[in-house]
């Protein structure tokens, strides 16, 4: 019994002292989904922020990715949950419509200044005279290549344009006696990053524009789109330098050293670093024959929720300023390996010429960001397109036209409400 009393007394005292300190200090809550490196990086940022703002404490909560959206949606309207929240750029519309987040104040986050300071694709977060949210870090695509296989085949440098890509991929492809592919020159799979490569890179490189009308109208059923689809499906059908689904998934084939080249996002760097015996390099995505370069960028943003009011709002604004500062971006790059969202950090001598990050960061300068209505459904459309060609022998142009139609239905449905 005395033990219990001591415990109760202790609890009461600590509760009282906690109440005393929190009388002066504001506590704000920050939510993100659980990913080890992101949590570590955010812990560092919070430490730095609290040191600079002793009267504010930040409490970070993280959830498994699968529960994230549900929890956020349930908590904020109930007046619980985060003051500052992390969300995927593609979810912004939904969050705005559901009134879960509030605009960033234009005096602190001047849109003109942000337009000038951040990489251009961040402007997708702007609505008239204010920004809704801002990223700390962004991601882009690049070409990973297996240095050992390159040496073995006597290839000196990664391809710089699409013709070289096909040629080098041909040299890297190996088959067994029966003609089965045992090593692919380049991995393919619309399920992985290739649907971004197709939309924002290949279609644009062939002289087209994948969408018009602020990504509400599909526009790739054009000459450029047909050329892009023919190039993409041609890698397997015509040149035989790849096999979709080879070794189950593209990144697995590359990790196993059974693929010469692999297009993937900057988030893959961390897991490739852990593979023993794999020597790999990174190059910018191959340019079109006329030199056109393009890239796809995606990012997670931070926003202030509608729950934050009064002094918690003030504190949240300060926190947002801190996590979008140059110093924060450098920490995010060093800890998570995600790219800075501002050229002032990304394009420094060290970062832009970094062996691994460099090609990704340079790609940001000409990157586009697709505004998705339903990313997984829109990706499915392109996966189906390729499979109609490869499994059902449908002509490429017909498959492309059907895909454009199917994707338009998804967009129309989403924007109708």
């Amino acid at each position: 019994m005395s033990k219990f009393k001591a415990f109760a007394l202790g609890t009461a005292i600590s509760a009282a002292s906690f109440a005393a300190t929190s009388a002066q200090a504001v506590e704000i809550e920050y939510w993100q989904y659980y990913f080890d490196a992101r949590v570590t990086a955010m812990e560092q940022l919070i430490e730095g922020f609290e040191a600079a703002n002793p009267d504010i404490t930040v409490k970070m909560t993280h959830f498994p990715y699968a529960d994230y959206r549900t929890k956020v949606a349930a908590a904020i309207p109930a007046g619980e949950g985060p003051d500052v929240v992390q969300l995927f750029y593609g979810w912004l519309n939904d969050y705005v419509e559901a009134e879960l987040i509030q605009p960033l104040p234009a005096d602190t986050f001047d849109p003109a200044r942000i337009d000038a300071e951040f990489f251009p694709m961040v402007q997708a977060m702007k609505d008239g005279d204010h920004y809704w949210a801002l990223p700390t870090a962004v991601r882009s695509l690049a070409l990973f290549y297996n240095e050992r296989l390159f040496e073995e085949a006597g290839i000196e440098s990664p391809p710089t344009n699409l013709d070289e890509l096909v040629e080098i991929a041909g040299q890297l492809t190996k088959r067994d006696g029966a003609g089965n592919i045992t090593q692919v020159g380049i991995t393919t799979g619309m399920n992985a990053q290739d649907h971004h490569w197709f939309r924002e890179v290949l279609v644009r490189q062939m002289g087209g524009e994948p969408y018009t009308d602020d990504y509400q109208t599909v526009n790739y059923n054009s000459d450029a789109g047909q050329a892009a689809a023919a190039f993409y499906t041609g890698l397997e059908q015509e040149h035989g330098v790849t096999a979709a689904g080879f070794m189950d998934e593209p990144q697995a084939a590359f990790k196993a050293g059974m693929a010469g080249m692999h297009i993937d996002g900057s988030f893959r760097i961390g897991s490739l670093d852990k593979i023993r015996g794999l020597r790999w390099g990174v190059a910018e995505l191959p340019a079109a024959m006329d030199g056109t370069q393009s890239n796809y960028s995606s990012y997670w943003v931070n926003a202030i929720t509608s729950k934050a009011e009064g002094e918690r709002y003030e504190a949240s604004v300060k926190f947002m300023e801190y996590v979008t500062s140059d110093a924060a971006m450098q920490i995010w790059l060093d800890v998570v390996g995600e790219l800075p969202a501002k050229p002032s950090v990304g394009m420094t001598e060290v970062n832009a010429n970094h062996d691994v990050y460099g090609p990704f960061i340079r790609g940001l300068a000409y990157a586009n960001t697709t505004i998705f209505a339903n990313e997984s459904a829109q990706r499915q459309v392109l996966m189906d397109m390729v499979q109609h060609v490869s499994i059902e022998d449908q002509p490429v142009n017909e498959a492309l036209a059907n895909a454009a139609k199917a994707e338009q239905v998804i967009l129309d449905e989403y924007y109708a409400d």
């Binding site: 959206r69 029966a178 089965n180 070794m247 189950d248 109609h388």
Partner: protein
């Protein structure tokens, strides 16, 4: 004066019974009936998890009716049922029937059949997924390639994929059905068999006239149980086709996977709820139909 004293013993018994029953009843109402009712209401609404629910009338059902993917998925679901249930029933009966007569290492063999049932479906699906890969990964195609036979596209094919996904699902459920069948076989009184043998009846007649008729309750149970299982198939399909869930070209997509995709990738909860109501109705009808067909006359 006291309520307890005014009750008869019988009333007290009833009161006690309901007192104990209240817990499971409450449990069922809160975590089964309430969500079921809620899902039915939701199927007439639009909801993306974030904003408020809005009434949509029968829109979700109309959309379902005109959705090509839904009809493809609907068909797939029944293919799973119509292939899976008879196959697993016949195979498990044959195994149980013969295993019942084996004395040598009986327990060990029975354990070997039961092991897949205890294995996590996810782990099993991934192992089979790799078995099915083309060379250089997949064991089946590697064997074929060794003998110079052309590779078979197991999963990357609109015709082969569904049976390829179904096979491990049947195998996984086999152990359970074998055990149930064996229990059923043991429950048949041996005196019937003795009488038949004295009368000089053939083995086939014993099987069709004694064993199978007396196994009827067991067969009903397994049929209903495995039908519901195949109608709700999800984990095998999802894990064997995560690169393109339910693919290629929706060739393996069952209804549950479509519901999952609509709800948690598309965040179209109302439409997903409408699909769920359809699945619920199918499950109900199939179960009632089977109970009716296999009823005791």
């Amino acid at each position: 004066m006291n309520l307890r004293n005014t009750l008869t013993i019988r009333q007290k018994h009833i009161l006690w019974a309901w007192g104990f029953l209240a817990i499971p009843v409450l449990f069922y109402v809160v975590i089964r009936f309430y969500p079921t009712g809620n899902a039915i209401v939701l199927s007439f609404q639009n909801w993306n998890l974030l904003s408020a629910r809005t009434w949509a009338g029968a829109d979700n059902y109309v959309k379902l009716w005109h959705d090509e993917v839904f009809w493809k998925v609907f068909k797939n679901t029944f293919v799973y049922l119509l292939l899976g249930t008879p196959f697993s029933l016949v195979i498990s009966f044959l195994i149980a029937f013969h295993l019942d007569r084996v004395r040598f290492m009986h327990g060990f063999i029975r354990m070997m059949y039961f092991l897949p049932f205890m294995t996590s479906a996810v782990a099993m699906a991934w192992v089979w997924r790799w078995f099915y890969q083309p060379v250089p990964v997949g064991i089946f195609n590697n064997i074929l390639a060794t003998f110079g036979i052309p590779q078979i596209n197991f999963l990357n094919s609109t015709t082969n994929a569904l049976p390829a996904v179904l096979a491990p699902a049947i195998w996984a459920g086999l152990g359970f059905q074998v055990i149930i069948f064996m229990a059923g076989l043991r429950a048949i009184p041996t005196s019937y068999y003795e009488a038949a043998r004295i009368d000089g009846v053939s083995g086939f007649t014993i099987l069709t006239q004694i064993t199978i008729p007396l196994l009827k309750p067991t067969i009903i149970f397994i049929t209903v149980f495995s039908s519901i299982g195949f109608l709700r198939i999800f984990d095998h399909v999802f894990n064997m086709t995560t690169n393109n869930p339910g693919g290629p070209l929706n060739a393996t997509k069952p209804l549950v996977l479509m519901i999952y995709d609509t709800a948690f990738n598309g965040f179209d909860m109302g439409y997903a709820a409408a699909q769920t109501v359809v699945l619920f109705t199918i499950l109900l009808c199939v179960s009632l139909l089977q109970l009716y067909l296999l009823r005791d006359r």
